[in-house]
Structure formats: C-alpha cells, structure tokens
C-alpha cells in the first residue's frame, strides 16, 4: 500500500507528438482514482508510465515516496490488469497466478496458500487447473484480477479492464472491483473512456483531454460543477445541453427566455449556458423561467423519456416523466441554480 505522486509528468514521442503535457496529481494511500477521457487523451499512456512500460520524458513519478522514473516495472511493486487480460495462454490458471510469485522466489508452500486464498476470494477455485482458453470472458477477467491481487502490490493499475465484457457482466464486475478495492484498501488507478464506469468506481475522478487535466474532483463535484464545457459534455448521460446565449444586464438571453446571471462573472457579450436534461422539467403555471421546446423526436427509456427538440434553432434535450403529454412543443423549466455558465472562448466555467 502506498501513495503515488505525479509531478509535471510529460510524454513526448519521437516525432514530436506530445501525448501527456505536464500532469501533476497526488494520489493518496488507498484511494481509487479513475482517469477518464476520450480515446487519444493520454490516459493509457499516463497509466503505462506509472507502470514503467512507457518511458517518462520529463517530470517525476513517485510510488511510496520513491522516485521510480528509471526503475523496471518489476521493481515498482505494482500490478496491472490489462484490457485483453494478457493471461499466459500456455499456463493453467494456477500457474498464471503463481508466475509472479515464483519469479520473486517465494517458497512453494507459501505460493499454494496465497493462490488458494485469492482463488477463494474471486470464486475461481474450480478452474485452477484449466487453461485460459477454456474460460469464459468473465472468468478470464477474474483470473486477471487474481493475478494482480495475489502479489499484494503497493498499487493496482487498471487499463480499461471491463471493455471486453458484455454490458451485463460489465456492471457486475464493476461492482466487484469496487468492493474488492474497498476491502483490500489498495491504492488503485483505473483508466476508462466510459464515463458511467468512471462515476461509479471513483473516489476521485480525473478528467483528461488532449494530454492535460481538465478537472479533478469527486464524481459528484464534477457532475454538479463541471469546470469546463468539455467536462460538462463528457460526464453525464445524456450529455449536458450547451447553448449559446447573449448577455443583457443581469441575464443571459436565449430564445424568448432570459436566464438570470450575475453581472460580475463575465466580460464578453456571448456566453455558453449549460443545463442537464434532467434539470429541465415540465413547466408548471407558476414557473417564470420557461423555454418552449419544438419537439423533433422522442426516445423512450422506460423510466423516463428523452425529448429532443430545438429552441431558437439550437438543439436541446429534456428528460421528462413518461406520463407527461406531448404535443408539437413542450414548455420546460429550469431552476436558476441548475444553470451552468461557461466562457465561449476558453470553455471555462464562469459561475
């Protein structure tokens, strides 16, 4: 168990492409940190630099207060779960789990005890004598997890470990990973492009974009107060509505609605307004702040209904109860506290 500290970590590939542009991130002992971002944002590269599979161009990586920049992966005391599991196909499950222990010169009796213990925790005891190819996707995933925890490393690194599983199994394994990490209390860094996976697993979420950190915070913080339009659009499903509005004194005007906005928070004449689909409710008679949504099409989700439409030529999605009557248009309402304002140039949050 150990803390991990990244300071100004950079990765430049030969040819000049900068994959990671100076990332500083302290990770506390026992914390579950999720790196999330679209493909190509540098999240996997960053993880591989922590693991020692990728050279660090500049900056330092510390694991347990020890600079590991020039250490081999095996000397860093970490374990990694790969996207394709990377199980050794010619070894049985038992041998797969024992390989790392054997390489470290552990006594055979001790190895047996450890492997049995891990197999019991992960409920893979019946498969110990099988080869990976005779296992299902979920079982392979468990073996890959087992190979990581059997070594009792200082930190777990997960590189999109659930993306090869079907949707149902993914949700189940997500829960199991979370429980297991809580129980073992091992520092974990988890990389994913799936924002839902990120939200559900993380103690702390790090949103990355083009090699830079967009925002760090607890999942709820980030959901409630996204720091940039990128984060606002990336976290949350369906994505947050982002529309352009004009400034008038004390308000942002959008279509026929005037959205209250403090004067001191922006300088320009334009402003990007964000509002989550679930914060757009069907307007009651008393609500002053209302928008008239011209309905384009409706998506039924069972529990709720997504209404896609336009206001003033800009697309907007509202998530409304299934029992609300729909016509050509829909009057929706938003609480002023649910509005997010962003600078249209920099994308930074204003309020």
């Amino acid at each position: 168990m150990a803390a991990i500290e990244l300071s100004d970590v950079r990765k430049t590939y030969p040819g000049g492409f900068e994959a990671v542009k100076g990332i500083s991130l302290p990770i506390r002992d026992g914390e579950f940190v999720v790196l999330v971002g679209p493909s190509g944002c540098g999240k996997s590269t960053l993880l591989r630099m922590i693991a020692g599979l990728e050279r660090i161009t500049s900056g330092t990586v510390k694991i347990a207060n020890r600079v590991v920049n020039n250490l081999e992966p095996m000397q860093r005391d970490i374990a990694m779960v790969f996207q394709n599991y990377a199980l050794y196909p010619h070894m049985t499950v038992f041998q797969n789990l024992a390989y790392g222990l054997k390489n470290r010169g552990m006594a055979k009796s001790e190895i047996d005890i450890r492997v049995d213990e891990v197999a019991r925790i992960l409920e893979i005891e019946p498969y110990l004598a099988r080869k990976p190819r005779a296992l299902s996707g979920g079982q392979r995933q468990r073996v890959a997890m087992g190979r990581a925890i059997v070594r009792e490393p200082a930190a777990f690194l997960f590189d999109e470990p659930l993306s090869n599983l079907d949707a149902k199994l993914r949700i189940q394994m997500r829960g199991e990973i979370k429980q297991l990490q809580k129980r073992l209390g091992t520092t974990s860094v988890y990389v994913t492009h799936d924002q839902l996976e990120a939200m559900t697993l993380a103690d702390r979420l790090v949103v990355l974009n083009t090699g830079e950190i967009e925002q760090i915070g607890t999942p709820l913080d980030i959901y409630r107060r996204p720091a940039t339009t990128f984060v606002a659009a990336f976290i949350g499903s369906p994505a947050m509505n982002l529309v352009k509005a004009h400034r008038r004194s004390g308000a942002a005007v959008f279509g026929d609605a005037s959205l209250p906005m403090a004067d001191d928070i922006a300088s320009g004449m334009e402003v990007t307004v964000g509002v989550r689909p679930e914060d757009l409710t069907v307007a009651g008679t008393k609500d002053a702040l209302r928008l008239t949504l011209k309905i384009a099409y409706v998506e039924e989700l069972g529990a709720t209904r997504l209404v896609h439409g336009t206001v003033d030529g800009q697309n907007l999605v509202a998530s409304v109860p299934v029992d609300c009557p729909l016509g050509e248009t829909l009057e929706v309402h938003a609480e002023p506290s649910a509005l997010h304002f962003f600078d249209p140039q920099t994308g930074r949050r204003l309020n």
């Binding site: 693991a51 020692g52 095996m74 990694m80 050794y88 196909p89 010619h90 190979r147």
Partner: protein, 294 residues
Amino acid sequence: MQTKRTVFGSPVLPYLLVLPQLAITFVFFLWPAGQAVWQSFLREDPFGLKTSFVWFANYQKLFVDPQYLYSLQITAVFALSVAVLSIGSALVLAVAADRMIRLSQTYTTLLVWPYAVAPAVAGVMWWFMFNPTIGIMSYMLEMLGYDWNHSLNPTDAMILVVIAASWKQISYNFLFFLAGLQAIPASLNEAAAIDGAGPVKRFFTIVLPLLSPTTFFLAVVNMVYAMFDTFAVIHATTQGGPSGSTAILVYKVFQDGFIGLKLGSSAAQSVVLMVIVITLTVIQFRWVERHVEY
C-alpha cells in the same frame, strides 16, 4: 474450425471440380510413386533388356548392406544438425528483427534473399569459401590452427554440407518465427515484466512456449528438407564424399541408380525414403492437431 458446407445441384459437379487437381496428383505423384514401388520388386540389367521379378530381394539386400546402413546413420545426423542449426539461427535473427524499431523491414527483406538463391549456386559458393586451397574460411581456420580439408576429412565434409544446407533454410524459418513472434500480444510480455520476469526469463517462459507450435512445424519441415531437397547442395560441394561420408539417402539413390545403374536397389531406396517422409508427415499432423491449441 467451422467450415461452410456448399450444396451442389448435380452430384457429378463436385467431382468434376476436383478432377484437375486429382489428375495432376495422379500423373505427377501417384503414378511415379507406383512405378518406384513396382520397380523396387524387379531386377533389371542397365539396358532394360532383361527383367525378373524378385519380390523383396532388393530390400533384403539393402538392410544388410553396411554402406546403406551407414548412409541411414549419417542422414539422421545430417537432418538433425540442419534442423537444429537452421532453427536456432533463425530464432535468434527473428528475435533481433522483432526488437528492431527502425529498418526492420529492410533487415527482413535482406534476410529472405538467401532463399532465392538456387541450391546448386549456394553449394558452389560454400564449397568455394571452404575450399582447402583457395577458400577464405579454410584460410582463416588455418590461422586459428585448424587444418580444414573437407575432401579428406569426413567430419569437415559433414560440417560443410550442414552449413551449406542450413544457410538457405534459415530465411524460411526466419519468416515463420518472425510472424510467430509478432502474433504474440505485446501485453503478454508487459504482464510478465510486471510479474517480475527479466528479458531472458520472459523469452524462455513466455515467448518460447508460445512459439512451440511454430518450432515443431519447422523441425519437421526442415528434416524433410534436409532429407530430400539437399541433393543439389551435396552434389555441388562434396558429391557424397569423402568415401561416402556425406552420401545421405537421397544422394545414394542417385549414385546407385544413375551412376551405378542398380535400378532395382535404387527404386527400393526411394520407397524407403517415401515411407520416412510419410511417417514424418503423419507425426506432424497428429502432433499439431493435439498440441497447437495450448
């Protein structure tokens, strides 16, 4: 493996479609093989004027002939040496090429060139390099204090034909190993590195076992090659000498049949060779079917 079944309208059509292939197989493989078997039961004079049917007399004589038994023995030594040498060198080269980041394409292309050299030319080239009087290799060996002479020393002769025969085969093996190496996911090596295995340990515990189907396939292919396709190499270098020490089975077939004109014995020898190659092929198919799926 799943195969799609094709349904033909007419029952004759499928047979018609495989007929060209069957015709080729018959004319070029089955018929000559049958002829060899038939001839191995005959005793003929060199001019084909008198022929008598002698049953297994040719075979009986063969297996008490000390020269033939000797040839059998050196064939085994030769085939094994060629397989080990060419597979070993090819593996080393393939691992080197797999690690290369730049110019690996060029390197690969250059390594494949020897395969395009005609066996006889390759043989002459090696014969020239090891020539006791004018060869550069024998000159260098002499500086090291070794008196190389493959026209007098049977061991030297064997080493020469093994090198000459292996040289060409390295290119072929190299391509298979390189493809095999590139088929191993990089994450396996990375996982092993995290699991505490150094590069050498990774090679022996991860890479080599995963290459074992390739290695086995190549071992059989190389043995078959060494036994049957090395006639030109031997003919161009040692011509079976000195005193038959490099006259492997296939070369002896030629010597006895075309030079000695013992047609019956030569036919019997080729039938023995045929049996050996069939056995090797059967072993390969059996083994590959059982072990290729790790």
